[in-house]
């Protein structure tokens, strides 16, 4: 008996075809399940990522969409973009003085109330107003920001009440849509429109470097000192030019309340 006979004997043992085919069928079922499971497992993180991206993008868009713009004009013209959460999300100067003022303010992501308080109490603004200038605060509602704009306007009116040199207006985005193309802030653009209605030759460049006091005085002179009450009161007395355009959407330029 040779050792080789053991090898020869085992060589004669083969896996039955039924065993092979049965195993193949079993594996086909198992791997299909595993494949489905793995596909689901692979897709799940991707779906979560997509969801998070959408949520992140949606949240980003929600946060960084302006719902109101506050235009503050003396000679410096600055605009504050406010989001639906009452946070200041942008600050931009619209002339040289405005850009200098914007650069000196650190109000990004502040509540608009704190931001306005900081601006109103800044030494730069105080200095301008002490020189006989007037300050125009125009609140522009963007899209669904109507209620918020009303609140901002109310806050500004209360804060500046009795100052005699601050005028508050409101406007819709449609009314001021050409402002930035002209290089003017919303507030100055509204004053420009009023001036242009009285003096059609006026160009945006004419008013760009004028102070709000100068524009206001010009409008007053063009209305012949009209007794209509528009602008002519000049705001330097006790006028607290608080206006509200809701309803007719127009800009009640400088109609002082003369309290």
């Amino acid at each position: 008996m040779e050792n080789n006979i053991i090898k020869d004997t085992f060589d004669r043992i083969h896996a039955e075809e039924s065993l092979k085919s049965g195993t193949k069928e079993f594996l086909a079922v198992k791997t299909a399940k595993a494949h489905r499971h793995r596909t689901a497992q692979k897709l799940l993180p991707a779906l979560i990522c997509v969801l998070l991206i959408f949520m992140g993008f949606g949240g980003y868009k929600l946060y960084f969409t302006e719902t109101s713009v506050i235009s503050i004009d003396i000679n410096p013209s600055v605009e504050l973009g406010v989001n639906r959460f009452n946070k200041v999300i942008s600050l931009e100067g619209y002339n040289e003085d405005g850009r200098a003022l914007a650069a000196s303010l650190d109000i990004q992501f502040m509540d608009y109330e704190n931001a306005l308080e900081k601006i109103f109490s800044s030494s730069d603004v105080a200095e301008y107003l002490s020189e006989g200038e007037i300050m125009s605060v125009t609140v522009v509602s963007c899209g669904a920001g109507g209620g918020q704009s009303g609140n901002i306007e109310e806050y500004v009116r209360k804060y500046t009440e009795g100052s005699g040199s601050t005028y508050c207006y409101s406007a819709t985005q449609e009314e001021v849509e050409g402002a930035h193309e002209c290089g003017l802030s919303y507030g100055k653009y509204m004053a420009f429109l009023k001036l242009k209605s009285l003096s059609p030759d006026t160009t945006p460049q004419d008013v760009q470097d004028m102070t709000m006091r100068e524009i206001r005085d010009l409008i007053s002179s063009l209305t012949d000192g009209a007794a209509s009450g528009e602008i002519t009161s000049g705001g330097q007395g006790n006028g607290h030019g608080s206006e509200n355009s809701s309803g007719n959407g127009g800009h009640r330029h400088g109609r002082d309340e003369n309290k």
Partner: protein, 161 residues
């Protein structure tokens, strides 16, 4: 997960090896089917990258041996079966081969394992030690004892190294 093509190739190449190891360890065909499914499913799902065919063959031998041992442990198996039930192909073998197969399969499991791995797969005692997780000296002892028993069962003295 390995492709269907790769799996079919492995089934073609290693089915006989798995079948022989099953025959060494198990006492019925149903268990063999279970082992086939277990071993090849493990292969399909295994991330192991084989260096060469030898490496792959050793993997199949080790995994099949372990699967058989696990199955044996999990059931009470004292039932003895005839060689025809154990290896239906034995019926078609020449008488000498049939006697050898009967003799090998009549040995206790630990000797059957050693005989198969040494005489059929050609592994050395240290290699068998690694596969079966046994001391090399133990493997030498198993092989010597198995040779002695086969000699007693089959006669002759040719089962030397």
């Amino acid at each position: 997960m390995r492709s269907e093509q790769e799996t079919n190739r492995a089934i073609q190449r290693y089915s006989d090896t798995v079948r022989r190891i099953c025959m060494i360890h198990l006492k019925n065909y149903a268990d063999t089917e279970d082992i086939f499914q277990t071993v090849f499913l493990k292969y399909v799902l295994s991330p192991v990258s084989f260096e060469n065919e030898e490496h792959e063959r050793a993997w199949f031998i080790r995994v099949t041996t372990n699967a058989c041992k696990d199955l044996i442990k999990s059931f009470f198996r004292s039932r003895t079966v005839s060689i025809d039930e154990l290896a239906p192909q034995a019926a078609d073998m020449p008488p000498d081969n049939r006697h050898v197969l009967e003799a090998v399969l009549s040995l206790p499991l630990k000797y059957r394992q050693a005989v198969y791995l040494h005489y059929y797969e050609g592994y050395t005692a240290p290699e068998i030690g690694k596969i079966l997780r046994k001391n090399v000296n133990t493997v030498y002892t198993l092989l010597n004892r198995a040779k002695q028993m086969l000699r007693e069962k089959l006669g002759g003295d040719a089962y030397g190294e």
